[in-house]
């Protein structure tokens, strides 16, 4: 089986400072990978390098494209990479405002990716947008409302709908549940889990919330100071952490 995404030796430096160093892993279709670590450990840098938002200084990110098979997305041309970014890839930002157009209606937000890949039939676009709003549990009657009138949880769900409407195969998530209260978090996690399983999505999810990875991730990488210190199956890492930092991380979680 060919990995959907094969990451080899990715490093990113900010001057003399290390962003992330020598990260390698394979992600297979249908798999969800969690990346955890404290603030400043290089999680988001890594995610941005993988998603093509930041150029890495070293290494390869090989993605199994639909048409041409495995391609290195770091060296591919910018138009190709941006095309991937609006078809096969999706990026869910921590703050919905970064991923949404706040001045455009919910339907327009969901429809943007469809129009970006060439859909030119208003009725079809609107139909798909409404359908997707319902799939993320937003009432279809709010299709013409602006996201500014939505609650934080709804904005985050709208952002997910907007990303998944073109049927991507790989979703990057940067702390998708950050800044939401726990009950809203739980609903969102439930929704994401359902969508990931139904659509057979692969996902790479950055978070510092171990409960989130426990629920969603098949595999886990623990990062510290830009390096991966431990990797393995989620339950294995969380229940039997080997590295001193992983042990600290797991033991830091408050038990209610």
């Amino acid at each position: 089986m060919i990995p959907l995404l094969s990451v080899q030796g990715i490093s990113k430096y900010y001057g003399a400072h290390i962003g992330c160093k020598d990260v390698s892993f394979d992600l297979y279709p249908g798999e969800v990978m969690g990346i955890v670590g404290e603030s400043g450990s290089g999680k988001s840098t890594l995610l941005n390098c993988l998603a093509g938002h930041l150029p890495p200084d070293e290494g390869q990110v090989v993605f199994d494209t639909r048409t041409d098979g495995p391609r290195d997305t770091v060296t591919m041309s910018e138009p190709e990479r941006r095309m991937l970014g609006r078809t096969d890839w999706a990026f869910v930002h921590q703050h919905a405002r970064d991923g949404l157009r706040m001045g455009v209606s919910a339907g327009g937000n969901v429809g943007e990716r469809l129009m970006a890949v060439g859909e030119r039939n208003y009725g079809d676009i609107r139909g798909k947008a409404t359908d997707w709003l319902e799939r993320v549990e937003i009432d279809a009657s709010r299709v013409d409302d602006r996201p500014i009138t939505f609650s934080g949880g709804m904005q985050q769900r709208l952002q997910i709908a907007r990303n998944l409407v073109t049927g991507p195969r790989l979703v990057f998530m940067d702390e998708p549940t950050g800044g939401l209260d726990v009950s809203v978090q739980a609903r969102l996690l439930d929704l994401i889990r359902g969508l990931v399983r139904d659509m057979g999505l692969s996902a790479i999810m950055v978070t510092h919330d171990l409960a989130v990875v426990r629920l969603l991730a098949d595999r886990l990488m623990v990062m510290k100071s830009g390096r991966v210190v431990e990797a393995g199956l989620t339950d294995q890492v969380l229940d039997d952490p080997q590295h001193a930092y992983s042990q600290l991380l797991v033991s830091s979680v408050l038990q209610v």
Partner: protein, 286 residues
């Protein structure tokens, strides 16, 4: 007004005109592409046509005949002052007759009369970037133009339909030039959009404050963007002209009293005048 010979011909110095001509040539070579140029301070406020005036200054020749249109009319402040500006600084002949002019500077309208290959139409452009209000980052819109990512333009039209039930954008209606660049045709009514394409005259667009020039060479393909199920429509007020009775020209609505009285007249004053001189008469003509 008399020709003031203290100024260089057409106000700008020769090096500046040369720089602007280079931008114009580049614009003509890449239709619809916004060419940056070093816009100069002009003796008028931004928003009054500083871009158009610089382009006109660069293309004017001593033997040219110059016409200025402001919202279709020859006799409004903007038109009168720009016309006298070039009378004074270039000493060129001026006219209000579309067919007599070799260079026409315009704001918000394309003349009703079909232009010819001997004419140049210069537009004043306030905001050259059609994606401006959707994507505020100039670095990003430039990238979108260069990579031909125009999905966002349709988001604007989508928003129109979802809010108003039809495409409510009625001026500055975005067009695609030669199947490549999306272009803002300046705030002309969308009624004029079909005239942009396949036009025999050269069309130049100057945005002074934004420092951009773009152009359409003669007989260029210009398509107004739309949806399959909401096609583009060149709309106008559904009336004949009150003065000349024309049914095919773009109309202004003039309020005549406070009893609800109104008059629809051609916005192109020269076109209306010619028709009246030829004996056409509308229902409101005295």
């Amino acid at each position: 007004m008399t020709h003031d010979t203290e100024y260089n011909f057409a106000y700008l110095d020769e090096q500046t005109k040369r720089m602007i001509r280079r931008a114009i040539l580049k614009g003509l070579a890449v239709p619809g592409y916004q060419v940056p140029f070093a816009s100069r301070e002009m003796p008028m406020p931004y928003g009054w046509g500083t871009g158009g005036v610089q382009v006109s200054a660069a293309v004017l020749m001593p033997q040219d005949t110059f016409k200025v249109i402001d919202q279709g009319a020859d006799d409004t402040t903007n038109a009168v002052s720009i016309r006298s500006f070039f009378q004074r600084t270039a000493g060129v002949r001026t006219t209000t007759a579309t067919s007599d002019a070799s260079v026409i500077q315009t704001r918000h309208r394309i003349p009703e009369e079909r232009l010819t290959e001997d004419q140049i139409l210069v537009y004043q452009v306030p905001i050259p970037e059609p994606l401006r209000f959707l994507e505020p980052r100039e670095s990003e819109t430039r990238k979108m133009h260069s990579l031909e990512e125009y999905g966002l333009m349709h988001v604007k039209l989508y928003e129109d339909i979802s809010r108003h039930g039809h495409i409510a954008t009625s001026y500055a209606y975005p067009v695609k030039v030669e199947e490549r660049y999306v272009m803002d045709p300046s705030p002309i009514p969308k009624f004029d959009n079909p005239k942009l394409g396949n036009m025999p005259a050269i069309q130049l667009f100057g945005a002074g404050r934004e420092q951009r020039i773009y152009a359409l060479p003669p007989y260029t393909s210009v398509i107004s963007l739309d949806f399959e199920d909401h096609p583009f429509e060149a709309s106008k007020a559904d009336h004949p002209c009150g003065l000349c009775g024309a049914i095919d020209s773009y109309l202004d609505e003039v309020i005549t009293d406070d009893q609800g009285g109104r008059l629809f007249v051609c916005s192109d004053t020269d076109y209306c005048e010619n028709r009246r001189n030829a004996g056409h008469k509308g229902k409101d003509a005295a």
